[in-house]
């Protein structure tokens, strides 16, 4: 049963990879030993002083790398922050000394954890828009990529007048 299932999964993955390579490329980036998948950010209201960017960094190399900073033309500043929740209290702090991407490992910047903090967006981010960012790694150097402006899967960034993912909750 196990072998059948895993064989099926492998086949499905192979199929998906070959079929969706174009779609995957649109969101995923490779820079030497680093692979960056699904960079995204939320739509922002006008006058929002901040926006958070999320992505996963995979290090396929034999030595660790470190995300030490970045910049974006779409906001005043880009920093690496960490959010944490303790007893219902939200805290947010800049990550001191950068974010280590272990050799052969990966780090996810995701809601309720690490994120790129875009301080002072120069315009409201609209769904479907691409926000260019440059991320600087200790070894890989500076890499450029786009954050896609998306509604999060949990509808958390939903705003009136914007397309919302259907099927999550009955809305009429």
């Amino acid at each position: 049963m196990f072998t059948l299932r895993s064989a099926g999964r492998t086949a499905a993955c192979t199929l998906a990879l070959s079929c969706l390579s174009v779609a995957a490329n649109a969101r995923d980036y490779a820079f030497g030993e680093l692979k960056i998948t699904h960079p995204w950010t939320r739509p922002t209201p006008p006058s929002a002083p901040t926006a958070a960017g999320y992505l996963t960094i995979v290090n396929r190399g034999k030595s660790p790398d470190r995300l030490i900073g970045g910049s974006t033309p779409a906001a005043g500043k880009l920093e690496i922050h960490q959010m944490s929740m303790t007893g219902g209290v939200m805290s947010m702090r800049p990550v001191a000394g950068g974010l280590v991407i272990p050799a052969g490992g990966s780090v996810s910047l995701a809601p309720e954890g690490f994120h790129l903090m875009l301080i002072g967006p120069k315009h409201p981010f609209r769904p479907g828009e691409h926000i260019p960012v440059a991320l600087t790694f200790e070894h890989a150097g500076t890499v450029k990529l786009n954050l896609e402006v998306e509604q999060p899967a949990d509808t958390g960034g939903a705003m009136p007048g914007m397309a919302m993912p259907g099927g999550h909750m009955d809305m009429h």
Binding site: M83, M90, P94, T155, M159, P160, M171
Partner: protein, 195 residues
Amino acid sequence: MRRLFGAAAALVLLAGIGVAVFVAWPRPVPSPSRSSEIGGPFALIDQDGRLVTDRTFLGKPTVFYFGFTYCPEACPTTLGHLAVWMKALGSDANKLNVVFISIDPERDTPAKLKAYLSAYDPRFRGRTGSPEAVAAAAHQFNVFYNKVPLQGSDYTVDHSTTLYLMDAQGHFVEPIGYDEDPKMALASLKALVGA
């Protein structure tokens, strides 16, 4: 003699403990519900610069949230959820006040709050005020927040992420936690507006 002194000292000590226990022992509070714990008088400025109090919108149930516009994640997520729930409530949403109280009044001016909140739902109301007035309001709701300096003159604010549901008379009904199941949260809001 020494024995007698020891016994007297013990007696005094026991009496002391007795008094301490009497003083510290929780006594029943003469209140009909939990409403005395959360909520109470406050006076703040709304998104249009008008003075508002806890009594301004009595007559409709109210959802209170304490946050700040510089908040990159918890506040946008909560406001996004609230916007979706307002839509799901349909016309019943008009029976509800949603009030966002800024715990960062130094940066969140009425105009900034108005622009920020109206992008989620034009019915959302903002509250700000002097740091003292905001602190007093937060205290009424047992809301924790703490200004944390960052590099330079920058700062962030750690804060509670709970939604407080109050009935039309201003009595606390129940909270909705940050990670509450959206269906449960919507059920709570429906119950609040009597839908």
